[in-house]
């Protein structure tokens, strides 16, 4: 049986080379430790920066929800700890037909959901149908299955997955419309975890809310979720799989304030938290019993243009703005050591598709010259908003004049440790070349994302991305594959050539071809300064010495069953 075809084997090797080194080291450390088992019943308290939105991973997009749901909900494939390398999960093994269109997966036997119902092929089929079919009774109209649509091309007839069948009690066959380079990586993404059909049917739209939580197959059962306070998860005594760690109770304490999270760590109220402020890293490392570890960099901070702004449709203006950004200074001031200045969407640590030849220098003088060449020798303080027609195309009609705006994110993210300070720096760089931009933001994170999704951030706006599955299709591909029409979510970016190339890379299963296409797209987009990339940074994690082992994953999808505590 061909478990993995050559394509995947090679990709996985590449991934391991680039990303897995740390993980391997950590695994060796774990192996060297004296035997520990879950029976010891340790409590692992993690400082969460906010409330989960919903614990049904299929309908959310935020990392906080995923972090909780991941501890209890498992996928057919799971990333091997510390890598973006998909390995066995609820599927023991898998094979693909020669045309790349039919995948057959063998499922584990003997797993049960937390509600006691059995895990089998029927349950898997039910989950896929629920995500895929808009008329499925549990494809709740009020919920948005955003990731399914993004990763599998759409719902119903638009879905790349055309059918999912139970071809045995523990065998599932998935049929695709076209081959898919990143199929296995996709299956290992948090949102495609298998939930208990009975539980979702019983709870209805309340599934995933604090009343119900999640009901899956994983090592930890949902116990309690009190908003603004904590979420508690408890060891699933009937867990089918292995437990490398020794944590029996997980508490996620919700502490939105960064300083308060640090204080909680110092006071011993939490064992770990993500993203300590840069200012505090030295403090943590200097404190006995506390330490910082780095999650390998697998992200990008960018500054996007909204193409409804007439002036930003001119490549000269975009290039001027790109040249005006002193990326190195931003990286030095706001990021950790080991951060790369970003010139492309795909980060250097990605398996394929990173184009190291693209370099954008910092050159304010040339930027000024380009701006003058574009017809703005005195700079810019006002820009023109263009109209939209019924089908969402940007028209020639000039709707209104607005000030130049630079939107900064209302929250810090792994790729953006300090949005406002970085925004302040960016505004000053723009001033340098004569662009008088206003610094703005919108409400909270959800409101900001909403505005971005609707193309309402009329100006320049900060945003970024952390790869979910290690594949460039989930990096640059996530953003621009649909660019044959203007994408409101991407500031009405439209480029049919880019879209066609990315589509080709998506359905190709030949690594070299995909790698070349992604590099070509990066070069094309850089030549036109379609978007301004700023930084790829590693993400700090802070620990007390109660935590012996924590395997950081590049995608941020750590499983606490791997955690070993003193």
């Amino acid at each position: 049986m061909m478990l993995l075809d050559a394509v995947h084997e090679e990709r996985i090797l590449a991934l391991l080379r680039r990303l897995g080194v740390l993980a391997v080291v950590l695994l060796v450390v774990v192996a060297a430790l004296p035997g520990v088992s879950a029976q010891e019943g340790k409590t692992f308290i993690f400082g969460s920066e906010g409330n989960p939105v919903n614990l049904d991973p299929a309908v959310v997009t935020d990392g906080i929800s995923f972090r909780v749901a991941r501890q209890g909900c498992e996928n057919l494939l799971e990333f091997e700890a510390g890598t973006t390398n998909p390995g066995p999960g609820l599927a023991r093994s898998w094979e693909v037909s020669d045309d790349g269109l039919t995948w057959t997966l063998q499922l584990v036997e003997g797993a049960t959901f937390h509600d006691g119902t059995p895990f089998n092929a029927e349950a898997v089929v039910w989950n896929f149908d629920r995500w895929r079919l808009t008329d499925h009774p549990q494809h709740f109209p009020e919920a948005v299955f955003e990731y399914y649509e993004a990763q599998f091309g759409g719902f119903d007839d638009a879905s790349i997955i055309t059918s999912v069948e139970a071809t045995g009690e523990y065998e599932v066959t998935i049929n695709l419309r076209e081959p898919m380079g990143a199929f296995l990586n996709n299956l290992a993404m948090d949102m495609f975890a298998i939930a208990s059909p009975a539980a979702v049917e019983a709870a209805g739209p309340a599934y995933g809310t604090p009343e119900v939580g999640y009901v899956c197959t994983g090592p930890y059962k949902f116990v309690e979720w009190v908003n603004d306070d904590h979420v508690t998860l408890e060891l699933n005594e009937n867990y089918w799989g292995e437990m490398p760690g020794n944590v029996s109770t997980i508490i996620l304490r919700i502490i939105p304030d960064t300083a308060a999270r640090l204080a909680a760590l110092q006071a011993g109220e939490i064992d770990a938290y993500e993203r300590p402020a840069l200012e505090d890293i030295d403090v943590i490392n200097a404190t006995d019993g506390l330490r910082v570890e780095l999650r390998p960099s697998f992200n990008t901070l960018y500054l996007a243009f909204n193409y409804r702004i007439k002036e930003f449709r001119d490549p000269l203006v975009r290039k001027a703005i790109s040249l005006a950004m002193n990326r190195q200074e931003i990286v030095d001031a706001f990021y950790l050591e080991g951060t790369n200045v970003a010139n492309t969407m795909n980060p250097p640590s990605i398996a394929i598709g990173f184009n190291g030849d693209v370099v954008t220098p910092y050159d304010p003088d040339q930027a000024k010259a380009l701006l003058a060449e574009a017809g703005y020798p005195d700079g810019l303080s006002e820009v023109t908003v263009l109209g939209l027609d019924d089908s969402g195309n940007v028209t020639e009609e000039e709707v209104e004049k607005i000030p130049v705006r630079l939107y900064y994110m209302p929250v810090t993210r792994p790729y953006n440790p300090n949005p406002e300070a970085i925004g302040t720096a960016q505004v000053s760089y723009l001033q340098e070349i004569g662009i008088d931009a206003q610094l703005e933001t919108i409400g909270d994170w959800a409101a900001y994302l909403d505005a971005r999704a609707n193309g309402e951030l009329l100006g320049l706006y900060q945003l970024g991305w952390t790869g979910d599955n290690g594949d460039p299709d989930n990096f640059i591909g996530y953003f621009f594959t649909a660019a044959d029409n203007p994408i409101p979510r991407e500031g009405f970016y439209q480029n049919a050539e880019v879209a066609a190339l990315l589509q080709r890379a998506r359905v190709s299963t030949i690594v070299e071809e995909r790698d070349a296409i992604y590099k070509q797209v990066e070069q094309m987009m850089a030549d036109n300064a379609d978007r301004v990339y700023i930084a790829h940074g590693p993400v700090p994690l802070a620990f007390r010495d109660t935590v012996v082992t924590y395997i950081a994953s590049p995608t941020g999808s750590e499983r606490f069953k791997e955690v070993v505590m003193k």
Binding site: N51, V226, D228, R253, A263, A447
Partner: protein
């Protein structure tokens, strides 16, 4: 007395109606379509219409108001947009947290403020008086968020004396009866939880109490001074009654009238301060909830909490008035002025 009671009660009805109208209208002025907020950006126009219908957003404004207020009176405030949790259920968790914080702060303020005021009045122009009155002025001049941050970092981080996050350590079990953890731990005889809950309460309650504390101290002092200058007190003193008895029996009781009023009025300041205090100390109460709800346009939460706070405020003022009338009979017979 009954007549006065009924009149005051009737007078507060238009205020409450106005409050509910204002809350309702404010929410309709906040930009953003609730239906869109509820459905997310991928909703189709048809679906948005459908939800607008369901939410009654297509009805005339006055009708919407009556439907909303009708449900609110039955304790139904709808579901939160973010997470779809019934607002009333969440309120039951959060409201006691805020009340516990505010009441503790008020207790601090009264227990410390009244004696300070009395001593300052008796020892007028002494060093104690000068220091405590300047302290009181300083107390109203230092913003809660400055004081809160100072407390966290000196008492919490540097000295590690007290916890400053949330209401209870997560590993401590407590059966929730009233939702006020101090009360609950007393009711269930859980001493460990009581100690822990009190430790969590001390700093935020103290930070929140500074303004009312200062005001109460000042008001007590001036009320006492005024009473001490009254003829009958002077007479009593001249008669040779021992001064503490004079103070306690005559002066104190009369001086309490304005103090009671001011205590009632401080509730508003406490609820305002709660937004800041709860944010700084990660206290899961309604102030913080409301602030966050506003920034993400979660309108059912905003409506419910602002209405609740306003109603409490009106009710407390009514209670203060009645108490006042009970103590001072002159009031109930005088006119509206």
């Amino acid at each position: 007395m009954t007549q006065y009671f009924i009149r005051r009660l009737l007078e507060s009805i238009p205020v409450l109606v106005g409050v509910s109208l204002l809350v309702f209208l404010l929410l309709h002025l906040i930009p953003g379509d609730p239906a869109v907020a509820l459905l997310g950006e991928r909703a189709t126009p048809e679906r948005i219409e459908e939800v607008r219908d369901q939410l009654g957003l297509n009805r005339p404004l006055y009708e919407q108001y009556f439907i909303w207020i009708g449900k609110a009176l039955q304790g139904d405030f709808g579901e939160t947009i973010n997470g779809r949790i019934p607002v009333s259920k969440e309120l039951r968790n959060r409201f006691p947290a805020t009340i516990e914080l505010a009441v503790t702060a008020l207790i601090f303020a009264v227990v410390l403020g009244v004696p300070i005021g009395i001593i300052s009045a008796i020892r007028r122009n002494s060093l104690i008086d000068t220091v405590s009155m300047f302290g009181a002025l300083f107390g109203v001049s230092i913003p809660i968020f400055v004081l809160g941050l100072l407390l966290i970092f000196f008492v919490g981080v540097r000295l590690k004396l007290l916890p400053f996050i949330g209401r209870l350590d997560p590993d401590i079990e407590l059966e929730k009866i009233t939702g006020m953890y101090v009360v609950d731990s007393i009711l269930t005889g859980n001493m460990k939880a009581l100690k822990n809950a009190l430790e969590h309460l001390v700093m935020p309650a103290f930070a929140l109490s500074t303004i009312p504390l200062s005001i109460i101290a000042r008001i007590t002092r001036s009320a006492m001074l005024e009473v001490l200058n009254q003829d009958y007190i002077r007479t009593a003193r001249a008669k040779g009654l021992r001064s503490y008895r004079v103070v306690m029996t005559h002066a104190f009781r009369n001086a309490m009238l304005p103090v009671i009023t001011i205590i009632g009025l401080q509730l508003g300041a406490l609820l305002s301060g709660a937004v800041l205090t709860e944010t700084i100390f990660s206290w899961p109460g309604i102030g913080k909830w409301l602030f966050e709800a506003i920034s993400r346009r979660d309108y059912p939460i905003i409506q419910a909490t602002t209405l609740l706070i306003a109603v409490i405020y009106v009710a407390v003022n009514l209670g203060v008035d009645l108490l006042y009338a009970l103590i001072d009979p002159r009031i109930r017979y005088s006119g509206a002025e």
